[in-house]
Each structure stands twice: as structure tokens, then as C-alpha cells.
Symmetry: C2
Subunit: 440 residues, 2 copies
């Protein structure tokens, strides 16, 4: 008889993991605390769209979903920078033909739920996991029909940043754990389609209004609206604490994001009715205790600034699937190799995501930074196999996050020296690019 | 009517805090999950003796307990280093007349409980706090008589490393938290008094058997026994995992701690019946939400290697008392200044304690390290106001832990250079000490 696997969470990572395991012949039951989102309209306050890039797409391709996904994607080949005067400046993310994708969280989840059912996964909604006994591989749930307990051969916690499996691990000895909130929070706003039913801005870009300590961003949706997110410190001069009245909000937006204001008819109302949320990085270890394992956000919740949260979770599933391919069957060795391999990569993307907030809110508006990116782009064009910019390594390649981070640090050291040169803006085209690359 | 203060925990820090507050006229109720230790023999697996030094003594003195405490202290003016051949080497901790004290945890706790009652503190035993609602300052307890809830003006969580107040803070937004276990654990053993009723070793020292990655230590008790603690990695060559049979334990002890073996008649039995425990550092912030505040281990549990856990908790109480003295009444400002002042000091002593494991288990056996300490001792003798060794700043002074750490780092940089000199062992007495001190 095939081994029984309990997957906690039928969100993005839980469903994808379930599909991978079901396709390998496991008897997979996925338990989700919320109702079936295909039958309800509740978004639960979560961000409406996400950035899907190479790592996530690769994992989806491995379960045969490439074409279905692509139809739901809006390509974003670069950042569109908005200055305070409303001037626009487009910065491509990579080479011609490279882009990240704006995709609906709920749309993608629906697709994965349907595919999971096709693959034979048993889905159980409104089953909220309260705890897991890792020694007996027993998961306990509350359901509308009362409490139940489920025994299985393996339990995966794909139940997100507030994972019940991780909370159970917390009560065991020698479990390392960290949750750290940055000093900024976020609030979602909305740019609807125009009265003519068109996108109010260029949909083929991730729009950023970088303002130093805070920023506004916007990602396109298939219905021609944009989901807008304000990232702002909780306390201080320009902060959620300082924006208490509609007048204050209006004044702040007119000063900082004037060109966005006419596109957001309800933003003052939205500002006061939508929640303000914190931004947390969670790190823990071990991810595995006996036959129970954490995966995705449950193992490594990160801040959203590199657009890699979902991609990292999907890559977890893909790596686990490759280990199963290699070693044949789900067992202690597979789980142990999975956590040993992925932990340094999770640490790396957590650090990269924290760093990228500074890049997005501040550096993209700095001419020196823009020049550096230009020089790195040229280096990549001249030496495509030797110099891949950090963003491209993270977003458009298979390189391990930990390797990308390490190479990125080396590149930054080299570029720090290059950027020290005077009047570089005028003569950068005549730099000795070969000698720069040779320093790597 | 005087304000009501709920103190969670009637351990060392909870009782001392209660005394300080009761003496200021607050209506203090202290709630302890365990039974009254004055009426039971249960030690609950906690270490039997502790190192009490200047900071702790200063706080106890402030509530008038100096004399009572001193009668219960065994002075330890230095470390007694045991090598594998059984040779002894005594390293004084500070100057002539400076010492740390071995004190019984339960004896000290009894004294503090009695004093708390004298000061008018209401003690409630077998009241286990399950959670605190910080917005209403309500604490919930389970008791042998059922569940109760307690409202008060202020709640202090002095309930240790697994604090119920901190767990309640964990469920609120934007609470930073970290728990990190080192790779070694510990197990307590015992050296009884001799058949003649004497100490089996010199009682006026903290005995250390430093062995690189692991160590044994022993502190004297008033009943002429020693509490012995083995600190050993959980995994690897010499580890708890590798010591599975009585033979393995015996062989290991005979090889590593031969001179201690004849003093511990029951150590093999103790080894298998006593628990193996982990060693954790816990950091969190904020410590204060509305009128609820964390204090002692609940705010900053540290590893035991600097002998400062209790001292740091007592200093928290003393600092809070000084703020009350200064500002007049317990309020939001006092709590806010308390956490802002103590957080950097808690971080510093947490780092110092982690570092000191390396010093105790490894460096004290290194002739170069011993020489460095000798040189620093001379520097202190020559320039007592300019050069205070780090250990002395932490243990025998009032200097903030954070300042001690900073000065200690500067000193280490200077000493690293001094120690680079060849044949220093022969000519160190003729060093230009003044020029060394001037670098500070």
C-alpha cells in the first residue's frame, strides 16, 4: 500500500507539493484551515498578486502546468520608476526577452487546487491544524464537525508563516527560531481599470515610486487594474503613525505620489479601511523532526522585496522532488538532504530580500546606482558566461540562492572600486571591461 | 488606593522585583506556577547553585538583604584549573579580596520569599499563568481550584525563559523574538562531602576541567558537597550521543577527568538518571506592551558561562527601582526608559556569555591566554583607573554590560597586537605598559 502523506496547508506551496507527491504514487491528504477559495470570495487580507519568475515557473513546468500558468501571467520586463514630478524611467530587469510575471495569488491557487484533485490529492478544507506530534506523526485538527486526529507516514508543514507544525516544533527541545519585523509596514491600495476599460498605466512593468525611506509600488492584474502597495515606516516623520486624518493622507500622497493620485479614486477611503500589516523574516532550524518537515514560508518566511517568496517555496518542492527522483523513496535521508541543501539558500534569499527593500525604495532613484547597473549590463553583454548581475542570478537562473549571494558580494566589491572613478558618467563606455571581469 | 501590580513568577527575579515594588507602596501579588518551595523538596531539575557577584549583591543590598545573603555565600576568588594529569592551577578572578559567590538557588529563593512576605507581597503558589491580555492588563491562571483571571494596573513577566507573558506578546503584531540553542548541552553530577564531612576539594574556587570542546565544572555548596556540571556537545566524537553505555561513560571520565572520578561515587548512575538539558539564548523586543513588561530571563535568557544570568535579572530590578526613584511613580515613561536602557545591556551580556564558554572550556588551558591575563592584571595594577580587565568590568563593577563589552573589544584589539611579539613569555615584564594603556 502506498505511504500516506499529510500536507498542512492547501495554499500555493501545499498544493504544488501535494501534486509532486501524488504524481509519485503517495496517498496525499492536504488539509487547509480556510474554506475552499474556489467556492468563496474571501481573500483573507493577503496580497492579491505576486511576482512569478524562473524558479517558480520551472517547478510548475515539472508538474505540467507551464501553459496554463502562462495564460494567467502579465510579463513585467522591468521597473518603471516614477519621480515626484511624474517623470517615468524604465529599467529593464535583464536581457531582451527576460521578464518577471504578475500573477493572481488566488487564480494560481485555484489552478493548483484543480490540478491537485486531478492528480488524486484528497483536499480537506476548514481543517485547522492545532498541533502535530512529530514522534507519532499525528496531526490534530479542529473542523466544523469537531476535532479529529490524523495519523500518517509523513507530515509536511506547508502552512505558512504561522505554521502549526513549526509551533509544535517550538515546544520541542533544541529548536532554533527567529522572527524579526522590519520597522516598515504595508498597506494595499488599488488602481482600477479606466472608464474605457483599459490599464491606467503601462501594464508591462513593475511600477515603483521610490522615496528613500518609503515607496509605493504597483503590479498589473488581468482585469486591467493594478494592485498598489504602500511600504511605509510605522513610526517617525513620514509614517503610518503620522498619517491619521484624511487630510494628512491626501497631502502626503499629493506631495509624494502626485501622478498616482488621479488613478486611485478611492485611495483615502481604502487607506483607512484596509489593514496595515507588518513585514517579518522568520528563520528556524531544524526543518525536519523525524518524519515531519517544514516547507515554504513555514520554514522561511521572508519580506516581499525580491519577489521570491513563492518562487523559493516552489523551488523547495522542486528540490524535494529531485531528491525523490534520485533516491527513489521518501525517507529520513531525503528529508535530511532536503533541509541541509535548502537551509543555506533560504538564509540567502531572506538576506537578499531585506537588502532589496533599500534598493527599491532608495537606490533605484540614485543616478550612481543606475549607472552601475548600466555598466553591469554591459559586462553581461560582453561576458555573458562570466558576469551575470545579481538580480538576474536570483530571478532568471537556477543558481542556488546562496551561490548567487556570494557571487553578488564579490561583484559588489569589484564595482565599488569601479564606481570610485571620477566623471565615470562620461567615460564609462571606455572602461577596461575585461580587467573588471577578470577580478571575479 | 495604591496601584495593583501582578508579578508572574516567584523565582529569584520575581520575588526581588516584588520586594522593591512593595517597599514603594504598591499592592503586589506574585503568582508562581510551582508549589511553595519552602514546603516541598522539589528542585524541578534546575541548577542547584549559582554565581552571585557585584551586580546581584548590589540589588540585594538595596532591599536590605546584604547580611542575610553573605551568610549563605561561599566566596570563590578564582578558577581552579584541572589538567588531565590532575595538576591544579589557580587563576584569580580579580584583585586580592575580589570574589564571586557560590549560592544555593533554593536557599536564596527561600530568603527572598520570606522577605517578600515581610514586605507585604501577596504570594500565590500553584497559579500557572496561561496567558496575558496586555490591552486589558488581565492575566489568566490555572490553579488546583480551577481557572481564574486577575486584573491589575501593571503586569510584570518574571516567569523565566518560557514566560507566559512573552508567549502572549508572541501572538501580537511586530514582536521580535529569537531562541538559539548552542550545540552543547549539560548534565548535573555530584561530589558529596568526604566521609569525614569535609569538602573533597578546595571550596574557595570555581573548579574547571577545560577540555577544548567540552568541560566539567564544580561549585561548592554549604553542605560541603559540590554541584558538578558536564557541558558536552550533543553530537559528534565526544558527545552525549556517543556516551550510551556505563562503560563508555566510565572510560570517558577516566580519560578526561581522572582526578574527579574518585570524588564522584555515583556519577555513572547519575549520568543515566539525570536529564540532559539544552542551553539557549533568548532575545526579544519590545519588552513592554502597554502596562505589561518582561524582566529577567523572560526578557533575556542567556547561557550560564559568565555566571551573570541571575545578576543581570537582579540588575533589571535595581535599574527599574532607580527609575521609580527618579520619576516618582510606575508609568509608561518608567517602563519605556527601563526597556530602552536595559535592552542593549541584555544583548551585551548574552554575547559575552556565549563567548565565555569558549574561554572556559578551551582558552583557560592555553598558556598564551594565561599570559595575556597576567599582562592585563599587571596593566590593571599599574593603571587601576584606566585598564580594568573585561571579566572584572562584568563581574566586579557597575559599568553597563554594553559599555564593558565595547571597552573589552578595544582592549582585545590592543592585546592581540601585544601578544604577537616573539618570546613574550620571557620579556613581558619589561613591556612598555604605559604605551599599551594609552592606546585605549
Amino acid at each position: 500500500m502506498s505511504k500516506k502523506v499529510t500536507v498542512l496547508g492547501a495554499g500555493l506551496v501545499g498544493t504544488l507539493l501535494s501534486i509532486f507527491l501524488a504524481k509519485r504514487g503517495y496517498n496525499v491528504h492536504a488539509y487547509e484551515g480556510r474554506p475552499d477559495l474556489r467556492k468563496s470570495q474571501l481573500e483573507g487580507g493577503r496580497s492579491i498578486n505576486l511576482a512569478l519568475s524562473h524558479r517558480g515557473l520551472k517547478a510548475l513546468k515539472a508538474v505540467g502546468l507551464e501553459d496554463e500558468i502562462k495564460a494567467r501571467c502579465i510579463p513585467m520586463p522591468g521597473r518603471m520608476i516614477h519621480d515626484t514630478a511624474g517623470n517615468l524611467d524604465f529599467h529593464p530587469y535583464g536581457k531582451e526577452g527576460q521578464f518577471i510575471n504578475s500573477v493572481s495569488r488566488s487564480g494560481l491557487n485555484e489552478l493548483l487546487l484543480n490540478e491537485a484533485e486531478k492528480a488524486g490529492v484528497y483536499l480537506h478544507f476548514e481543517h485547522r491544524c492545532t498541533r502535530v506530534d512529530h514522534q507519532t506523526t499525528t496531526a490534530y485538527f479542529t473542523t466544523p464537525q469537531g476535532s479529529i486526529e490524523v495519523n500518517s507516514d509523513f507530515v509536511f508543514g506547508a502552512d505558512g508563516a504561522f505554521s502549526a507544525l513549526r509551533n509544535s516544533f517550538m515546544r520541542t527541545d533544541r529548536f532554533n527560531y527567529e522572527q524579526h519585523y522590519i520597522t516598515a509596514g504595508y498597506k494595499e491600495l488599488h488602481i482600477p481599470a479606466t472608464t474605457k476599460g483599459e490599464f491606467a498605466m503601462d501594464p508591462h512593468a513593475l511600477h515603483i515610486w521610490p522615496r528613500g525611506k518609503f515607496m509605493l509600488i504597483a503590479l498589473p492584474n488581468l482585469d486591467k487594474s493594478f494592485t498598489v502597495t504602500l511600504f511605509l515606516p510605522f513610526e517617525g516623520e513620514n509614517s503610518f503613525a503620522s498619517l491619521q486624518s484624511p487630510d494628512q493622507v491626501l497631502t502626503f500622497f499629493n506631495r509624494e505620489f502626485a501622478d498616482a493620485v488621479p488613478l486611485m479614486p478611492d485611495f483615502v477611503e481604502d487607506f483607512f479601511s484596509n489593514p496595515t500589516s507588518g513585514l517579518v523574516t522568520m528563520r528556524c532550524y531544524p526543518w525536519v523532526k523525524q518524519n515531519c518537515a517544514l516547507i515554504g514560508d513555514a520554514a522561511h518566511a521572508i519580506v516581499p522585496f525580491y519577489g521570491q517568496g513563492m518562487n523559493a517555496g516552489f523551488e523547495d518542492c522542486h528540490v524535494l522532488n529531485q531528491l525523490l527522483e534520485e533516491l527513489g523513496t521518501l525517507n529520513a535521508e531525503v528529508l535530511s538532504r532536503y533541509q541541509e541543501m535548502r537551509k543555506p539558500d533560504a538564509e540567502a534569499i531572506a538576506d537578499l530580500a531585506l537588502y532589496n527593500f533599500i534598493e527599491m525604495r532608495d537606490k533605484v532613484a540614485d543616478p550612481k546606482f543606475v549607472l552601475q547597473k548600466k555598466i553591469e549590463k554591459r559586462l553581461n553583454e560582453l561576458y555573458p558566461n562570466q558576469w551575470l548581475p545579481l538580480y538576474s542570478m536570483v530571478t532568471f537562473s537556477d543558481l542556488r540562492y546562496s551561490e548567487a549571494l556570494e557571487i553578488g558580494r564579490k561583484q559588489q566589491k569589484i564595482m565599488d572600486k569601479v564606481m570610485e572613478q571620477e566623471s565615470l558618467e562620461e567615460h564609462w563606455q571606455s572602461l577596461d571591461f575585461e580587467s573588471i571581469v577578470r577580478q571575479l
